[in-house]
């Protein structure tokens, strides 16, 4: 018996690309890089928890400690109830977890998952990168590993936006064809309809 996962419909390219942005080949690298970000953030979290005494920084030396124990980070610890590095680690873990969930045609079958993944990767990633860039001006010190995680965030944005874009194109196509927010709502939550199927077929035909 052949597995449903080999169904050709689950491995088609979708507009505006000539490949499938929901394929594992596209998603697994995102999850791996997000996991690297997660581990680096956890490492800085361990320092903020005082579970380790030193933190590695080959470029800025002790400045990393200044950043990780700054007033800003203390205030964030108070708001989030956990160290800001641990909170950032959650965002990266979310990138990886939401990247893993869903079939290889989830841009059509589970738009809510792709949109959630997109929100976690794109706006949150850009905000965190901007925050790191502000570090030098607000705190007056730089932190090498923070910069590494900011670069990871931006790399993830570039790697992930294609799938989110296809998903939004699909939802917009459904909206135009149905002229009904009710249908868009159902499609968003993964409930099938003739209109949604037709919209997806068009986008697959327009691929490449």
């Amino acid at each position: 018996m052949r597995d449903l996962k080999r169904h050709p419909a689950l491995h088609v390219a979708v507009a505006p690309w000539d490949y499938n942005p929901s394929s594992w080949r596209q998603r697994i690298p995102i999850c791996l890089i997000a996991t690297a970000g997660f581990l680096i953030a956890v490492y800085m979290g361990l320092f903020q928890w005082r579970l380790i005494d030193t933190v590695w920084d080959p470029v800025f030396g002790d400045q990393t400690k200044t950043v990780l124990t700054s007033d800003v980070s203390h205030r964030m610890h108070y708001w989030f109830r956990v160290p800001d590095a641990a909170f950032g680690a959650f965002a990266y873990l979310g990138d990886a977890i939401f990247g893993l969930a869903g079939s290889t045609r989830r841009w059509q079958y589970r738009p809510w998952m792709v949109v959630l993944f997109g929100i976690d990767v794109i706006p949150l990633g850009i905000v965190s990168a901007v925050l790191v860039a502000l570090q030098g001006t607000v705190v007056g010190s730089w932190c090498f590993l923070c910069i590494v995680t900011a670069v990871i965030s931006l790399v993830l944005v570039v790697m992930a936006y294609d799938e989110v874009w296809s998903c939004l194109l699909f939802l917009n196509r459904v909206r135009r064809k149905s002229r009904s927010w009710r249908v868009v709502w159902d499609t968003f939550w993964g409930r099938p309809s003739e209109i949604a199927e037709e919209a997806a077929r068009e986008l697959v035909r327009e691929a490449g």
């Binding site: 449903l4 996962k5 989030f80 109830r81 959650f90 873990l93 969930a101 079958y109 993964g190 199927e197």
Partner: protein
């Protein structure tokens, strides 16, 4: 079902937490909060394996929110490790509770349409 398996493990961690973080014996509410949430998480995750209660894991969102909210009970001091642990587990639960059971397969409605299209791909849904 990988998300459900992870949730059971989070539940086990929560059940061990009072001993790991040494809750004070005169704070029974701390103990019961962790034990109660642990039991709820494990039961909800396991119930999701049964076809009739397959949506039970969504109630894990409520447990996650409760655990996060419990971190904001006492704002006067910095949160002690036990409270931070509750908040962390809460966020983890929130993240995992929304993951569908057969996450890497299409949702049931779409999968039905795929099957109608090509009969030879018929497979049982439960794993």
């Amino acid at each position: 079902m990988w998300a459900r398996v992870c949730e059971v493990m989070f539940g086990c961690w929560l059940a061990m937490s009072p001993f790991i973080f040494r809750h004070p014996p005169d704070e029974p509410r701390w103990w019961w909060n962790d034990f109660g949430c642990a039991a709820a998480v494990i039961v909800l995750a396991l119930a999701s394996f049964h076809p009739r209660t397959q949506w039970a894991h969504l109630l894990g969102i409520a447990v996650g929110l409760w655990l996060i909210a419990s971190g904001y009970r006492d704002l006067a001091t910095d949160p002690p490790p036990a409270v931070q642990n509750d908040v962390l587990v809460g966020w983890l639960l929130l993240m995992f509770a929304i993951i569908p059971n057969d996450a890497d397969r299409p949702p049931a409605g779409w999968e039905e349409r795929l099957r109608e299209e090509k009969d030879q791909f018929r497979v049982p849904r439960s794993e």
